[in-house]
Amino acid sequence: MSQYTVVLLSSIIMYIVLAVSWTMFSAPTGYVSLATAAFFGAGIYTTAFLGEFIPLPLLMLVGGIVSFVLAFLVGAITLRLRGVYFTIFTFGLVELLKNLVLWFEIKFTHVRGRFVVSIDHTTVFWSLLVLLALLLVAVALIKRSRFGRALQAVGESEDAAAHIGVNTTLVKVTAFAVSAFAAGAAGAAMATRWSYIDPGIAFNSLMSFMPVLMAIFGGMRKTAGPVIGAILFAYLEELLITRFPSLYMIIFGAIMVGVILFLPDGIMGLVTKLTRRGAKTLEHS
């Protein structure tokens, strides 16, 4: 593979990881999280701090754990809140971290940004692929487990779930933290793409929106949905973002509005509908 292909594929895999991990928590529970950028950024800063000392797989593990702990703490506070409150909070978290890290760096380390250790593209690619494989296995296992059922119960009726003995807060917080682990690990791996980072680069709120759009666009009922959405938008981004950034963002926004208004179940929902209709026509002929 050429270096260009490796970089493009890495970025696609990164988006799949983010979209699938976002869907893992937000689809069954109905809590729309906009914290992905916070966890991704925490992963980036993990590598920025520790990149010279430990190898990439360990960096990803540490980045994942940092994000897991962060999500657990934030989740324990905010997941008692419902609906839009939670979304606002997670969104604010990205801004909060950005400002806190910036303040910390300027005040105590007297730098605005940091140089990141460089790791070759192929290693990053393979590490991300392993992360994705692990994530897909975890998602499949959770879906079939008792934990997955508890998550679904919380999403469908939180009151009913609590009254049949589900510790709803613990279930939500755990799922949120597991999903954050994946985003943090992805951030730790992708950090090496930039040679220099600052809080504005690391905590870019667009990274919170991308997974949401990808998942909504692809459809959230099946794991294939966010995967398809991620591939499509990662490629679209690659084509447009450097040459026509504003145009890309307008298209991004327009698709977001259009999909919610006209394709509530996403592409996968449309495919299911069409194949079902197709099957019916066959039966009748």
Binding site: V84, S246, V257
Partner: protein, 286 residues
Amino acid sequence: MTTLLNIIIGGLIMGGIYAIISMGLSMQYGVARILNVSHGEFIMLGAFLTWTLSQAGISPLLSLVIVSPPLFLIGFIIHRTAFKRLSSISGGGAFEGNAMLVSFGLMFILQNVAMIIWGSSPQGYQFLVKSVTLGGATFAVNRLVVLLFALVISIGFYFFLSRSRIGKSIRAASQDPIAAGLMGVKINRVMALCFAIGALLAGLAGVLLSMIYQINTAMGMSYTVIAIIVVVLGGLGSIPGSLIGGFILGLVGSAVSYIEPSLQLVAYYVIIMLLLLVRPKGLLGR
């Protein structure tokens, strides 16, 4: 003493502007159930339209009147098209989440259209760059003018809502949409009206901001975050809560940025965290 007075004046200016934008957001969320994340983009549009007009020699004070009708109209049309369709396809609980995501989409569209038109570098114009001395302290005239208008608009709007007929039907619709509908309030139109009023208030705030600060096409988001914080602080949907919350946040922000400017947003976030833990419904929430 002068420092304290400056902190207070600064706090009241920001507070007045925060109150205007927060009441706007509160109209959109409290009545129309749309947590409009593109709210800040309407502020930005108001500011840049004023800037464009100022380049043609039109006074920003006149812009207050010129800029608001088109923004009102844009808000009205957006509600009558996108959000009306959304409420017909997504029932009950799903509407709020989806409406918020649609408004995120709008945010990206509006912000980047503005970037194509006006570019991404900061802009500004000169307006009343004089100073006066009051009680031994010196103040810039433009800041005092903005303070005056911010107070008049925020408090005036509050009274408009609590006294006028339209205001009463709006409040009826926000408290009990079904009963209001039965009593002859055209609920869909009231919702569109509220969304449009929200856009108008954002626009007015944008005009005021442009008189004293530099503006840029990416400025919207931070004001959206502030408006959301104030609205949560005052209680989602509570207009008096937004008015009071706006001033409180403005004063706190002014004090914090005097001590440590880079921690202003952090301070806001900490306030809101604490408040939501102690009193999840906000200061004056129902």
